[in-house]
């Protein structure tokens, strides 16, 4: 903190313009609170879901009649949908980790290279280390690199962009050096299953049933806790809606997946990661501090938060998830090649941004990032079904990214 920062530099009497953000409500005036006015964040989430559904319907309509066995289109058919979700699993897992780093006001550009490196090391560890050695190696590599880069950012004060840009280059070099440019096949059957396997229908139904029980229990215990704290408790109707809507979604999901041969393993991994990520960001002090650090580092520091430690921790969590993603990717492809993971950092960042994350830090949700990844994967998948040329696909995805943020800014200016 420099000296002038501690002494006010505004010597004229302060005015509303100085002390209130644009759009602030003057003293004593209640904010307009129309009954049907949704909070901006909720509105943004609905817009995103709406865009996703619109994309799905568009591709469904466009694929009508392509395949005679699916006269009503193949996009939302069980086989394709299962395929789509498998395709997004890697990006989704990376996006969840990336979200935490971006929320804390940082960035990680090295993710794609580390996916390649961790995947390569996992493939090399199959012979000496067995399954545990291979899987463990990828995770350990991810966490160590995350911790190393995080420490450079948090404790050596090197900008995250620079540290991880260096990482993007250096880790790719390490893979090339280690593998001598060779592609290493995945030999262990279980390893391979991680990428392409599907769980049996029964397991799917059991997991769905467990999820339903968890949702019911969570709603009931939440209501009990609110009563204990003397807060208003939602009525029976609202509680029922909170239970029924997710249960219906779970049922539809399980039905669709089982019709396609069972829930794919990578999709299960993504779901687990997303639930864990949502819990970390929304229900822990760690998550709360990340948002505070990204939103206003000065206020966070003066509130007693150890900023450096939490930034380092965010990079470690991301590193762990990069390890997981590298396993999913290597398993799905069936081998570790030296150029694996190229551009994945950009996919992950794009997923976060499309999902409403601010690159300035402090804003964004795990669910948004996952939906963002789903939107990207849907575009990929749908355009491939339609045999859109490769170059057009790149242009469309780039345009969607810019347009998504553009709309977001427009909406923010109005609100």
């Amino acid at each position: 903190m420099s000296h002038p920062a501690n002494e006010p530099d505004v010597k004229r009497p302060l005015t509303t313009a100085d002390v209130s953000p644009p759009g602030a409500v003057p003293e004593g005036v209640e904010a307009p609170s129309g009954r049907f006015r949704l909070p901006t964040d909720t509105l943004r989430a609905y817009t995103m879901i709406f865009a996703l559904v619109a994309i799905w319907l568009f591709f469904q309509w466009k694929t009508m009649g392509i395949n005679p066995s699916h006269p009503w289109g193949i996009f939302i058919s069980p086989e394709n949908f299962s395929n789509l979700l498998q395709q997004m699993a890697v990006t989704g897992v990376l996006a969840v980790g990336m979200l935490m780093v971006i929320v804390a006001g940082q960035i990680d550009l090295s993710v794609g290279s580390v996916v390649g490196l961790a995947g390569g090391i996992a493939a090399m560890m199959q012979e000496p280390g067995g399954l545990v050695g291979a899987l463990g190696a990828a995770i350990v590599v991810g966490v160590i690199i995350g911790a190393f880069q995080g420490a450079l950012v948090a404790y050596a004060n090197i900008p995250a962009f620079i540290v991880t840009l260096g990482g993007l280059l250096a880790w790719r070099g390490v893979i090339l050096g280690l593998t001598k440019g060779a592609t290493i096949p995945v030999r262990l059957p279980f390893f391979r299953e991680l990428g392409v396997g599907k769980v049996s229908e029964t397991v799917g139904y059991v997991l769905a049933a467990l999820a339903v029980v968890a949702i019911v229990w969570m709603n009931i215990s939440r209501n009990r806790a609110r009563r204990r704290h003397g807060l208003s408790v939602p009525g029976a109707g609202a509680t029922a809606a909170r239970i029924v809507v997710p249960v219906l979604l779970i049922a539809a999901f399980i039905y669709l997946m089982n019709a396609g041969g069972g829930v794919p393993v990578p999709v299960l991994v993504l779901l687990a990661v997303a639930i864990l990520g949502a819990f970390l960001t929304q229900n822990t002090t760690f998550g709360r501090y990340l948002y505070a650090i990204g939103g206003n580092p000065d206020a966070a520091r003066l509130s007693g938060i150890n900023i450096r430690r939490y930034i380092l921790a965010a990079y470690c969590v991301l590193g762990f998830l990069v390890g997981v993603a590298s396993l999913l990717h290597t398993a799905r492809v069936g081998s570790a090649s030296p150029d694996a993971g190229t551009y994945m950092e950009l996919d992950a960042i794009a997923a976060c941004v499309i999902g409403g994350t601010s690159l300035m830090g402090g804003r964004g949700t795990v669910s948004g990032a996952v939906v963002g990844a789903l939107i990207m994967a849907s575009l990929d998948n749908g355009m491939s079904l339609l045999n859109v040329e490769n170059y057009t696909q790149y242009i469309v995805k780039g345009a969607v990214l810019v347009a998504a943020v553009g709309f977001d800014m427009l909406g923010r200016r109005k609100s």
Binding site: M1, S2, H3, P4, N6, E7, P8, D9, K11, R12, P13, L14, T15, T16, A17, D18, V19, S20, P21, G23, A24, V25, P26, E27, G28, V29, E30, A31, S33, R222, A225, R226, R228, H229, G230, L231, N283, T284, T285, F286, G287, R288, Y289, Y291, A292, G295, N296, D298, A299, A300, R301, L302, S303, G304, I305, N306, G362, R363
Partner: protein, 515 residues
Amino acid sequence: MTTPQTSGAPLLEMRDITKSFPGVRALDGVSFDLYAGELHALVGENGAGKSTLMKVLGGVYPHGAYGGEIVIDGETRRFASVRDAERAGVAVIYQELSLIKELSIGENIFLGREPRRFGVVRWEELYSRAQKLLDELHLNVDARTPVGHLGIGQQQLVEIAKALSQEARILVLDEPTAALTDAEVETLFHIVNKLKARGVGMIYISHKLDEVFRMSERITVLRDGRTVGTNQTSALDEPRVIALMVGREVGDIFPEASHERGAVVFEVRNMTVEDPNVRGKLLVKNVSFSVRQGEVLGIAGLMGAGRSDLLMGIFGAHAGRTTGEVFVEGKRAQITRPSEAIDYGVGFVTEDRKRFGLVLDQTILNNMTLAGLPHLSGRFVTDVDAEAAAGGRAMKDLRVKANSVFTVAGTLSGGNQQKVVLAKWLLTNPRVLFLDEPTRGIDVGAKQEIYGHINRLAGEGLAIVLVSSELPEVLGLSDRVVVLHEGRVTGEFKRTEATPEAVMSAATGHTRSAA
């Protein structure tokens, strides 16, 4: 010293200047004039309107944004921009210098006005002209030196060189000596005298009355946006100027409260804080104070006296090196970072709530629980309902006006934002609470509410350390007042002895201990 010509037509006349901000009249019919070759000092308390007046003159507030007229050389001027004012010969040198450290002295002097031919900068001409200006000021450096290599005093002279290069005839110096060493001050004054001889008119804003009396021909005192009086310096003395500066009644918006005072809960001994940017420069020098349970200790002082630096230093949040001892309830407390201060029961409502206090994007609740999260909610897993219950109670206690605890903090008015910051610290269960400018930029109604809360909290046994630039506020709320001047304690007063004149006299550097 030259004799200024204060007869005949003035170089500058500002007539009946009025400037309003929403809800506040910052300048109310101020008139001010300046003769060629004169140094006219402008003094007043923080917020009296000095800087606003100079911004009107400098074109920061364009014509139409203020009332009244500016006449230079008998001609009415309507500046649309800072550039316009510069062209008319007005140069303002602000307290925080506006030089670009990475550029050379010459580049800074001619920034945006580089001599060029066909759009190509003529470097030789630029540097030779810059060198000539530096020679005139006896500044013995190469014009190609980056400004960042110069000391603050030399940078100040570069600013003056820049003003001279614009052929400024009206030069505004805003607290020019605040960051200078004694030797640098002498150099500056030497140059000021040379400029007077050349017929440059200077407006000099300073809190240091000894300098004002030494250098000025006339003094104008502003108070609450009005001119209190313009007099020949020779007709005034320091006590008289101080009386003119403060001359207002302490309003009765301060609830009379006598607090039951208990034992000393918090004590600071020999606190020293170094400027993180200038090695060896001390912002706070050997300050000691203590505060009792249920007591409000006011810390008064003018801008730059080191009040905020003192609090930041104690709280473990200052970027500069600090030394000194802190005792909480008689036990030595090692505080090197804010989290340790919070653990010792120190709360700190920082100044500038938007910059240091709030995460504006987030809800009232998340802001309120930020500092006390582990004990309000849980060490690792949070409990939103427990938080909402605590936050809801705090919101009711402090009467924060908002729809719910989930309203985004950035949409609140200033007063309500301030209450949220206050709630954040109260929710850490502090034993001693620092309040730094707690009512800055909020309206009178909200101010009075905050005053009420301060008295209530002291009544409940909290020890409070209050820093405020508004003298009536410090005097109206404090049981005891410590006055800082340039980082040093220059006075300590009990409530009954703390008259505005006595405090202002100490704040302008007249050491006195009445306590």
